[in-house]
């Protein structure tokens, strides 16, 4: 009986010791993840202006209103459009440049540095630079904006436009600038991936009579699939959450044409002071991002199997 008690004491000590080791992780996870999420969900069930001590419980009213909020859903579509441009234009550019820099070309290191400059610049700075490039004003009959001036000089007067104040072009301009700023990340990751491909595979393909295109299609692309998937996921998550660039390029936006989910959340929190509604938006947006991530995870595992 005495021996059993000793074993129990030892087990207790072991149990306590083990929990001591995981306690900091649990504490940090609870304080910085579980509690904020609980608080966000709790706030989403209230009407609250963010300052007042009184929060009014309104149940799922914020979520109901969100379902009917056309501006919110169109903001998700806008974020999707920016993501689509980033997935195609940005990643194609990144892959093409990575392929070029993977070869033995002159000034290879210089190009690597140059291509990585846009990602390290602040989004505010990038936004302001592009705002100047796309400036629509005229002074003394001369275009002020660099793009309009260029178009004017080469005789394409009909293409001169008010780029950031035209609903047809504003979002595309933002998407292109976002891609320009972001392609450097993809470039670096893809270049690193390309450098891990065994050169002997290309040698073997060449011995078998493969053309450059066939080598690219049958060696480079299959070997790069896992890396491309990582770049795609990072691009999607980064592009869906873009907002600083938008604020610095079009301020509070062009009507609702340049709204994305994060700008809507910001407006709800600090513009219309509806913290509860902003939290409901945040939860809805989080669910959308989780669904997209899961979709890519499924695609990724299927591609790996294939």
């Amino acid at each position: 009986m005495k021996i059993e008690l000793n074993i129990t004491k030892a087990n207790m000590f072991e149990w306590a010791r083990n929990y001591c080791f995981v306690l900091p992780a649990i504490a940090i996870f609870s304080v910085f993840y579980i509690y904020p999420f609980y608080e966000i969900f709790n706030l989403s069930l209230h009407e609250w202006n963010g300052i007042s001590p009184n929060r009014v419980y309104i149940g799922f009213e914020n979520f109901k209103e969100l379902m009917q909020d056309e501006v919110w859903w169109s903001s998700l579509v806008h974020a999707g459009y920016i993501t689509l441009i980033a997935l195609t234009f940005q990643n194609t550019l990144a892959f093409a440049l990575a392929l070029a820099c993977d070869r033995e070309i002159k000034l290879k290191k210089f190009y690597r540095v140059v291509f990585f400059i846009p990602p390290v610049l602040s989004e505010v700075v990038v936004g302001l630079i592009w705002q100047w490039i796309l400036h629509a004003g005229v002074q003394g009959g001369e275009q002020i904006g660099l793009l309009n001036r260029f178009l004017d000089k080469i005789g394409l007067h009909h293409m001169v436009n008010d780029w950031l104040s035209d609903p047809k072009t504003a979002l595309t301009c933002i998407a292109v600038v976002h891609s320009w700023k972001g392609f450097g990340w993809g470039f670096i990751i893809l270049l690193a991936g390309l450098q891990t491909i065994d050169k002997q595979l290309y040698e073997a393909a060449r011995v078998d009579g493969a053309t450059s295109w066939q080598s690219f299609r049958n060696v480079t692309v299959p070997m790069m699939v896992p890396v491309i998937l990582v770049v795609v996921i990072l691009t999607v998550l980064g592009s869906m959450q873009v907002f600083v660039l938008i604020l610095s390029m079009v301020n509070q936006g062009l009507v609702f044409h340049t709204e994305v989910p994060v700008t809507r959340i910001l407006v709800a929190m600090t513009g219309t002071n509806r913290f509860g509604y902003a939290c409901a938006m945040g939860i809805n947006f989080g669910v959308v991002l989780i669904m997209i991530s899961l979709l890519f995870k499924i695609i990724s595992s299927r591609m790996k199997q294939a």
Binding site: S52, G137, Q139, S165, T270
Partner: protein, 434 residues
């Protein structure tokens, strides 16, 4: 040996948890140091200079912390209020409803007794209009206990500015006083390749302010307030006239290209670099233009009136104000500093250095010449912060975005009026349900 290792591990883990917990604990406030948070980039140096003088005189250190731009400052103040880590003195930006929420939350000291001490000496030294934005009257719509809760540092108003050189170049002898004259002036300016009006309409409140000027001019204050109460619809012919002002100014090419997404900083740059003949901006611009182009020759004018039935009313009164944190352990020291800051000598220094209209009436003599145009029309000012009622922020968002839609030619004034009215009715129904 194994047991010792276990004990050491447990101690390390315990210390780590202790450090984590104590690391989150607030540091005790420094003695004899008053912390001030503000957003006024152009006044930061002057505030720091005054803080140094105050320390020299009293031995109390004033820590001036700048957080800009203003919207980032607003977010910081709201987040700090939620975490109860506000400084001794800070500013509250935004609508009066927000100010009222801070008071309701217990974050602001009621300064009424201080203002009324010594036969209201402090209150009398300041312009009543400067105090109005910080005053809550009996029976206000926010149910805030009546009192004065903030200390004005300066007064401001928002008007149109005109470039004297560019107007002369177009053969225009005097700035336009009527809407028709503005359109005629714009035609003359266009002939010499000069853009018309530039403003920061990318910041929605500026377009709203411009529209509000014309709303007061076209239908008068009572009808504007009746609309906010829901008694007059936004589809009323007078509101259509207000929306049509934007359509006309767009169609006549008065608005400079890109105005709809332009931030005010960029608009200020365009006017200072003589890219446009007119600007719609606040009296703070005097300092900004001076820094951007000291040789700029310009004057201030009221937005040209469209109707003679009611006077043109511009936004004014509320300049920058500071409040004292109710949770501060140095409330009295903070109040003493604000009294010193709003005294004539310090106000004169601020007016000279920052080219803003002072809140202290005795410091007005120190105002630079160019500001006198702004000072002259203070009687014609009004401001949402002193209105007895508040329009729903969702209605205002629709209104502001609607103005943008009209400027880019996407929608007609009638469509926008209808859309704004729909939101208004929805909000009123929501209020009724509550």
């Amino acid at each position: 040996m194994k047991k010792i290792a276990h004990v050491v591990c447990v101690v390390i883990v315990g210390v780590a948890i202790f450090c984590n917990i104590t690391g989150c604990v607030r540091t005790p406030p420094e003695k004899n140091v008053v912390t001030v948070w503000h957003w006024m980039t152009d006044r930061d140096q002057a505030f720091k200079e005054l803080a140094a003088r105050y320390e020299e005189q009293t031995g109390i250190k004033i820590k001036i912390n700048l957080y800009a731009p203003s919207d980032a400052f607003s977010r910081k103040v709201v987040a700090s209020a939620q975490a109860k880590v506000l400084p001794d003195i800070y500013g509250i930006l935004g609508k009066k409803k927000i100010f009222a929420s801070f008071i309701e939350g217990g974050f602001v000291v009621d300064l009424t007794a201080e203002f009324q001490k010594d036969n209201k000496q402090w209150e009398k030294s300041l312009f009543p209009k400067a105090l109005a934005a910080n005053r809550f009257v009996e029976g206000n719509v926010y149910n805030t206990p009546p009192g004065i809760y903030g200390v004005p540092i300066d007064v401001t108003n928002i008007q149109m500015l005109y470039n004297k050189k560019l107007l002369a170049k177009a053969g225009i002898k005097h700035p336009p006083k009527t809407f028709a004259e503005l359109l005629a002036a714009n035609k003359a300016l266009a002939r010499v390749g000069v853009s018309g009006l530039v403003s920061g309409f990318g910041e929605a409140w500026m377009a709203e302010c411009f529209a509000s000027n014309y709303a007061f001019n076209i239908m008068g204050q009572e009808k504007v307030f009746a609309t906010y109460r829901g008694e007059v619809p936004y589809t009323d012919p007078d509101w259509l006239k207000v929306f049509t002002v934007f359509k006309t100014l767009t169609e006549e090419g008065v608005f400079a290209r890109g105005i709809v997404t332009k931030g005010n900083k960029y608009a200020e740059q365009d006017f200072a670099l003589e890219r446009a003949a007119f600007s719609f901006n606040g009296s703070w611009c005097v300092n900004v233009y001076h820094k951007m182009n000291p040789n700029l020759e310009y004057g201030a004018m009221l937005p040209p009136a469209i109707s003679t039935e009611y006077p043109m009313r511009i936004w004014g009164y509320a300049g920058s104000s500071f409040v004292v944190n109710n949770h501060s352990v140095r409330k009295d020291t903070a109040i003493a500093f604000l009294k010193w800051l709003t005294a004539a000598e310090q106000q004169a220094y601020l007016a000279r250095e920052t080219k803003n209209l002072p809140a202290n009436r005795r410091a007005l003599a120190s105002v630079p010449d160019v500001l006198s145009d702004f000072a002259e029309v203070m009687d014609q000012t009004t401001h949402p912060s002193i209105w007895p009622l508040d329009e729903s922020s969702l209605v205002l968002e629709k209104f502001d975005k609607g103005l943008q839609s009209i400027i880019i030619g996407e929608k007609t004034p009638e469509q926008i009026a209808q859309e704004v009215q729909e939101v208004k009715e929805r909000e009123m129904a929501k209020q009724k349900r509550k």
